[in-house]
Structures are given as C-alpha cells and as structure tokens.
C-alpha cells in the first residue's frame, strides 16, 4: 500500500489513536514506525530529533515497542521466559533469571499489569497474554508503545481492563499509539485522534469534539452503514438441521457437545461467543473438514453427515472462513485463480474435467465490479490486495452459484466500513432470496443487527438464545463469559 503525505504528531504522555479503514495505510505506517519498512520520503522525529529506523532493533533502541495484534508468545514457556526471550539478561555464562524476575515484578507493579512471572503462558487467558506482550515491550525499555488493534481479540470486560492499563501507562509518562477501527473504544481512551484514509492523514481531532458517527464518516468520507435487517424473510422451510453434533479433540474432550439447531430458508442465525468456545469446530464440522464423533447434519432434507467437503459445497454450501489466509485464499495465486477455489467442479470455473479459464476470468470481473474489490486487474496475486479487498473477493466468490446455505465466520472482520456495508447488503439480498445463513462474529453489533435469531455458544454448547431485537451487547457479553443469567433456552 502506498502511503503519501502522512503527518502525525504524537504528544508525550498521551494515548494517540490512529483510525482508518482497512487499506487506509495504518499498517504501513506502523511498519515504518517500527523499522520494518523504509519510507521513500519524509522524516520521523522522536523527542524532536530526526531518527532513521531501518530495523525493528533500531526502533527498540530509541524506545519504540510494538504489541502485535496476534500474540507472539511460546505457550510452553513461562511468562518470565517469554519476556526475556531474545533479550536475556546475562550473569556470568547463564541467564540471570533472578534479576529478570525482579524487573518483571517491578514493571508489573508499577503499571498495574498484574503479571505473574512464573506462570505458564498456556494457562493464561487472552487478556493476560496481552498484558504479557505489553510487559515484554516495557521490559525492553520502550517509552512509546504501538498497539495494533489490541481489542480485536478481547471481550468487552477485558477491553475495559486494557483501557485501565493504558491509562496507568500514560500517567507514568509513556506514550501510546493505538490503532483501531472500533470507534467507541477510541473515543473512550484516546487523547488525540488521527484519521487516515487512502494512505494519507485526513484529519486530527480530539475525542471531545466528535461523535463516533462523525469519526466514522471521516474515515470513509461518506455516510455510514448500519447492520440491520429489514422485514423478516424467515420461512418455514428448514435448510440446515443439526442434531446432536458432537466433536471431540484429540485428547478426548468434547469441543462440541451434542449441539442441535435449525436454520430456515431466509433466516440468519447468529452465534455469539468468546473465541475458542467451539465456533471453529462447529464451522469445520459443518463443512466436512473436521470429523464428527456423533450427530447428524441435514441440508434441505438430505443427510450430508457423511458427504465430503466438495460434495457439500456442490450441494450449495458457501463458506467464508474465519482465517482468510489459512482457508480462504491462495495468496500467491491470481484473483481469477482464487475465484476457482472451492468452485473447481462447477460452472463457470469448470467444464467437465477441465478448467474454464475464460469463464472464471469473466466471473471474477463480475465479482470485482459487484463487490467493489479494489484492484488494478484480476491478474495480480491475492497477496498484493489489502485484507479487506481479499475478504470482499471471498464473500463474492462464496455467494456465487446460488448457495442455499452460507456459513460465515467473521465475514466483515478486518474489512473497512464501505466493504462491510457491501457485504451486509449482499447477505441481506441473498437472505431475501431464501438463503440460510450461519453467522459467527465477534462484532456484537453486527450479530445483533444482522441476525434473525441469536444463540450464545459456551464451552461447546449453545447455552442461551436471544431475540436480537430485544438484547443489548452488554447482555450478550455477560452471557458469553458464562456470567449472565441467560435467556430462555430452546
């Protein structure tokens, strides 16, 4: 992504938020600040002196630390070992664990992080792991912290804790650069906000003078989409019937425990839950990727329990995977080749045992047009598109060929507001034409706005169901952690 004419001034001892759509250039700016990429022009000054950052080591040396969105911790090591990894304090020939332990305890106490050095990372929850990441950066002497989408993996309660930590860090004189596209969070924690759009900085505002809506409109440059369904299109015809679905992990633990539900034509069933409660297993079991222990899956009154993934896809199941790089695209293949993926056996991608290249190319052009995939051509590799544009291509592909059921895991995760609106609109349209949708999302507003019915998944079970017109994100949030009283179970 090209960045041009980016101007950001961050005051010492503040939380500065950087917001923008995906592909707006936030990640590129971050990489430049952390020395992972070099700017062609322009300067970076720290405390007034221009600095040349060519490697992350340079960045660390001048006191810049980065907390990545995806944690980089070794599960089988303790917190202490993880923190010192790569920056081990020496004493004689060995590692001075004692000094490190003291230092970690100091930092933890000073900033209220509550990190215990001798626990195994494997035992820690998501929020705790994040605090370990922050501590790792502080341990290396960072005075400026860059946090890349730190709340993406947290539930609302954990987000509040994180913000408490950030305020603590700020009061100790540290500077925080906070990347996000969750605007409510930005408004609640930031002292200054810089908005990026299309690779450049378009506005600097302070949270007191804007609303979330205005901020979002600055980001997109236009009015905002809202996740909402219009009139109900739910019919009486069941499309997907799941009975007693049980999946066990290799160690014999039930990760999905006798789950049953039905989705009708024209219905969107939303599944809310903290990540790791069986969502991934549910989706993979429905797609035929993960073997079942027991249970039955019916698609349009046909038993598909024993069918292969390909046969299920051919029967009209579309699949928007949670991790697009792992399951959604071939990064080094062109866009039109990616259009074929998952549709290898069907028109317009195939003709008998041969590929139909012309057909696939023409249909890729259609998807690029209809879903506003921003690319100069369909001959570039998928890896050269921004994440949001890759996602639009995937959704476009999965909605091709008139699917009867769409299994959508986080369909708008990491995509910009414009693309989000486009994806929602396409789902609405397909729903009106009797598409059944299983929607899994971490975005509670999306779940509430886009679902006809809502269920909460906890430890492999559907523990509660809610009427999306009557539930609040807070209620859902507490049901997700198992703290809520739960709705009437069906």
């Amino acid at each position: 992504m090209a960045n041009s004419d980016v101007n950001v001034a961050v005051r010492t001892g503040t939380v500065h938020a950087l917001v923008g759509e995906n592909g707006a250039g936030k990640s590129t700016l971050m990489k430049i600040l952390y020395g992972m990429q070099r700017p062609d022009e322009g300067t970076i000054s720290i405390d007034g002196s221009p600095t040349d950052l060519t490697t992350p080591a340079d960045a660390i040396a001048v006191g810049i630390g980065m907390v990545h969105q995806h944690f980089m911790l070794a599960d089988n090591l303790t917190v202490l070992e993880n923190v010192v990894l790569g920056d081990e304090p020496r004493s004689g020939g060995g590692i001075d664990f004692k000094a490190a332990r003291t230092k970690i305890k100091d930092i933890s106490a000073r900033y209220g992080l509550g990190v215990e050095p001798d626990r195994l990372v494997d035992e820690l929850g998501v929020g705790e792991r994040q605090r370990v990441e922050i501590l790792k950066v502080l341990f290396r002497g960072a005075r400026i912290l860059i946090l890349d989408e730190p709340t993406a993996v947290l539930v609302p309660q954990e987000v509040d804790e994180l913000f408490g930590n950030l305020r603590e860090l700020k009061s100790e004189g540290l500077t925080i650069l906070f990347i996000s596209h969750k605007l409510d969070e930005v408004l609640s924690v930031a002292d200054d906000i810089t908005v990026m759009r299309r690779g450049t900085t378009v506005a600097s505002v302070s949270p007191g003078e804007v609303t979330a809506r205005q901020l979002a409109e600055l980001m997109v440059g236009s009015a905002l989409p809202v996740p909402e369904l219009r009139e109900s299109t739910v019919t009486e015809t069941p499309v997907l019937e799941v009975e007693g679905l049980t999946v066990t992990s290799p160690d014999g633990r039930a990760v999905l425990d006798a789950m049953s539900f039905t989705i009708h034509a024209g219905e969107v069933l939303g599944i809310a839950g903290v990540e790791g409660n069986g969502q991934a297993e549910l989706v993979e079991a429905l797609m035929g990727i993960r073997p079942l222990q027991s249970g039955r899956i019916m698609l349009q009154d046909k038993d598909i329990t024993k069918l292969s993934t390909r046969k299920r896809r051919d029967a009209g199941v579309g699949y928007v995977p949670e991790d697009r790089h792992r399951q959604g695209v071939l990064l080094e293949a062109t866009l039109w080749e990616n259009r074929i993926l998952g549709h290898q056996t069907r028109a317009p991608s195939a003709r008998g045992l041969l590929l139909n290249r012309a057909g696939a190319r023409a249909d890729t052009e259609r998807i690029v047009e209809e879903y506003d995939v921003r690319t100069p051509s369909i001959d570039v590799a998928a890896a050269s598109l921004s994440g949001g544009n890759q996602q639009k291509l995937i959704v476009g592909r999965e909605m091709s060929g008139d699917p009867v059921l769409l299994i959508a895991s986080h369909p708008t995760r990491g995509v910009d507001v414009g693309a989000q609106a486009a994806i929602w609109e396409q789902i609405r349209k397909a729903r009106a034409e009797h598409l059944a949708v299983l929607l899994i999302s971490a975005d509670l507003d999306e779940l509430i706005g886009m679902s006809d019915s809502l269920a909460v998944i906890l430890r492999g079970k559907l523990v509660a169901s809610y009427d999306p017109t009557a539930v609040t994100p807070e209620e859902l949030g507490s049901a997700m952690t198992g703290a809520g009283d739960g709705g009437p179970h069906d």
């Binding site: 090209a2 046969k311 290898q344 056996t345």
Partner: protein, 372 residues
C-alpha cells in the same frame, strides 16, 4: 499468468541467469586458484559444443534428465519430495527391459511391443512410488524417508532379479550380465543427427509429449488446479473441497509413472538391455533440474539441456588436464544459488505488485469518485 508482460519474463529469467553467472564466477575463481586459466577452459568447452556429436549426446542426456525432472516436479507442485525417482526408474527400466526382451514379445507388431514396454515401465514406477504414497496417506510416513528407503530396496531387488537364474543372461564376451537383449522390433530407432556418429534418441518425442501433458495437466485441468492449490496452501485446499489424501496418492502415482519412463530412451534407443552398467543416479539429477527449471515445463527443458551440455562438454577437459569435476562443482553452485535467487526474486516481485496495486488505487479513484 494470463498476460505475459516484459517485466514478468525479465524477473522470471533474472534468477536462473543470475545463478548461472554466479556459478561461472565461482568456477572461474576455483580454476584460477588451481592453476588453470578459466578462459581457455571455457573456450575448450564451448568449442566442443560446436561438434554435432556433442550436441546429439547432450540432447540424449537432456531427454533422460527432463523426464526425471518432470517426475520430481509433479511431487514438488504438491510440496511432496519424491526422492525415490531413482529407485522407481531403475526398477521400472529393469522390469520393462525383461518384458521387452522376452521371447513371446517377438510375435507382436513393433508399435504394440514398444507401447507395452512403455506402459509396463510406467506401471512399475507408479507401483513403487505408490507404496510411499500409500504409507503417507494411511500411516503418515514422510515420503522423504520412505522413498529413500524404497531406493535402497529397489537396488537390492534389481540386484536380486538381475541374476542368470532369474531375469538376466550373461552378456556375450564379457562378465557383465543383463536382461535378454531387445530385438529390433522392440527398439525405438534413433533420429540421425547430421555430422554426428551417434543418433538422437527416438524417445525424445516421448519427453516432449510428457512435457506438454504436464503443462496441460497443471494449467488446464481441475486435477492440476487441485494439485497446485494443495501445494500452495493445504488448509485452503481442504476448505475448498480438495481431498488431500487422494491428491497425495494420485500425485505420487503420477510422479512414479513418469519416473518409470526415465530409463526408456536409453534402454530402447541405445543399450537395448538392462545390464549392470545401466546409468544410475538420474533421479537425483532430476531433483536439481526441477529446482533449476522451477518446475516449469519449458524452464526444465532448458535446465535439462544445460545439464546435458555441461556433462558432455566436460569430456573435453580431460584432454587439457583439467579435472572434469569442475563441472560438478558448477552444477552444484548453480542449484544452490538458484534456489536463493528464486526466493529473492519472488519477494521482490510481490513487493512490486503490491506497489502497483497501491499506485493504481491511488491514481485511478479519488475518495470522491468512490463515494459516488
């Protein structure tokens, strides 16, 4: 892939050409250090290439190398490392030779005889690599390990069968033993090359057919798409409905079938019998050529010819007292440096493309246009 731009061709050539130049430099330095003038050595080698016989022999080596490289490349495309091409072709050539030389084949028309020989070789190769595929699919055995072990077993099996009590006869006038000689009806006549005393193998056509079929399979068929997809990202392939186990087995069988062909140009075109002196180790050469040619049907053809030419021109070095192992050094350096060069070019290309995408988006649409 659809459009061929000057830049992509240039980038495609940058790595092999760069590796070649680097290898030449390294060899030049080694020659100088050991007291041989590099330029006169190069002159000798290039000079020998002007002889028609050298060209014909280079083509013959290249034919064999190419088949071996395609066999390896089919595996590579799936990220499968078929190191067993060596054992597969030796076993296949030996059994096919025994079949082709058998007396009951005499009564068959020549075309049928040759086709039967080819089919038998493919079948043997496929069965031998299929064992590795089967073990991988059912028991999760790494194909690297199993194919290496199958190579050793093939060596032992060939030694066992190549015995006068079983499939071999003693070769008249020597203490060599081999399968019964294939009579004229079972041979593939060579193509005369003007000015050369040795013919070009008739089965050079088979290599061409295999190359075209390989290209067609990869780029035009659903099977080829599944194969490439599995190689690029197994998880994405699985999610798209590819049965990875089936693909592993199918590609191992296919790779082995092509491997079975490796020995045939020599067998049916020149030696007419599988004897103790039948060339070994071609399977490993195939790995180097597949790497150098980047699994590309045309790239591997060039790489195979380069390899063949290096082998053949090295013969001239003995005359001038230069150790011909310098060519082996050169081949080794080429392969090592080309692997690095390809990776560098790949990354550079991706960065260029990302910049292009960025630039195209920055200039083709302004935010205002997008909103409208």
């Amino acid at each position: 892939m659809g459009r061929i731009s000057l830049r992509s061709v240039g980038l495609g050539l940058a790595a092999p050409v760069g590796a070649l130049v680097f290898a030449l430099l390294v060899c030049g330095v080694i020659l100088s250090i050991t007291g041989h003038p590099p330029f006169s050595v190069a002159e000798d080698m290039i000079g020998s290439l002007e002889r028609p016989r050298t060209i014909a022999n280079s083509l013959n080596s290249a034919t064999t190398y190419y088949l071996s490289a395609v066999a390896v490349a089919i595996g590579f495309k799936m990220r499968l490392f078929n190191i067993g091409v060596d054992g597969q072709y030796r076993l296949a050539a030996m059994l096919a030779a025994a079949l082709a030389g058998a007396s009951f084949m005499e009564s068959l028309p020549s075309v049928v005889r040759i086709l039967l020989t080819i089919l038998a070789a493919m079948l043997v190769g496929a069965v031998w690599s299929g064992i590795a595929g089967f073990l991988k699919v059912t028991r999760g055995v790494s194909e690297v390990i199993s194919t290496i072990m199958l190579n050793a077993i093939a060596t032992a099996l060939v030694a066992f069968l190549l015995n006068p009590d079983r499939l071999a006869v003693t070769v008249a006038g020597s203490n060599n033993i081999g399968t019964a000689p294939i009579t004229e009806g079972g041979q593939v006549p060579g193509i005369p090359y003007s000015g050369s005393s040795s013919d070009v193998y008739g089965l050079v056509a088979l290599a061409a057919v295999v190359g075209v079929a390989y290209w067609f399979m990869l780029n035009r068929t659903r099977f080829g798409f599944d194969l490439k997809a599995t190689g690029e990202s197994e998880s994405a392939a699985v999610a798209s409905g590819v049965n990875v186990k089936k693909m592993v087995l199918a590609s191992m069988l296919l790779s082995g079938a092509v491997a079975g062909l490796v020995g045939l140009p020599q067998l049916l075109g020149d030696s007419h019998s599988y004897a103790l002196d039948f060339p070994a180790g071609l399977g490993f050469t195939g790995i180097a050529i597949a790497l150098l040619g980047r699994n590309h049907p045309i790239g591997m053809a060039f790489a195979a010819f380069l390899w063949g030419a290096l082998d053949q021109t090295s013969n001239v070095l003995d005359l001038s007292g230069v150790p011909k192992e310098i060519v082996v050094i050169m081949q080794g350096v080429i392969v090592l440096s080309v692997v690095i060069a390809y990776e560098l070019v790949r990354r550079y290309k991706l960065r260029l493309e990302q910049r292009d995408v960025g630039r195209a988006l920055g200039t083709t649409k302004t935010p205002e246009e997008v909103q409208g």
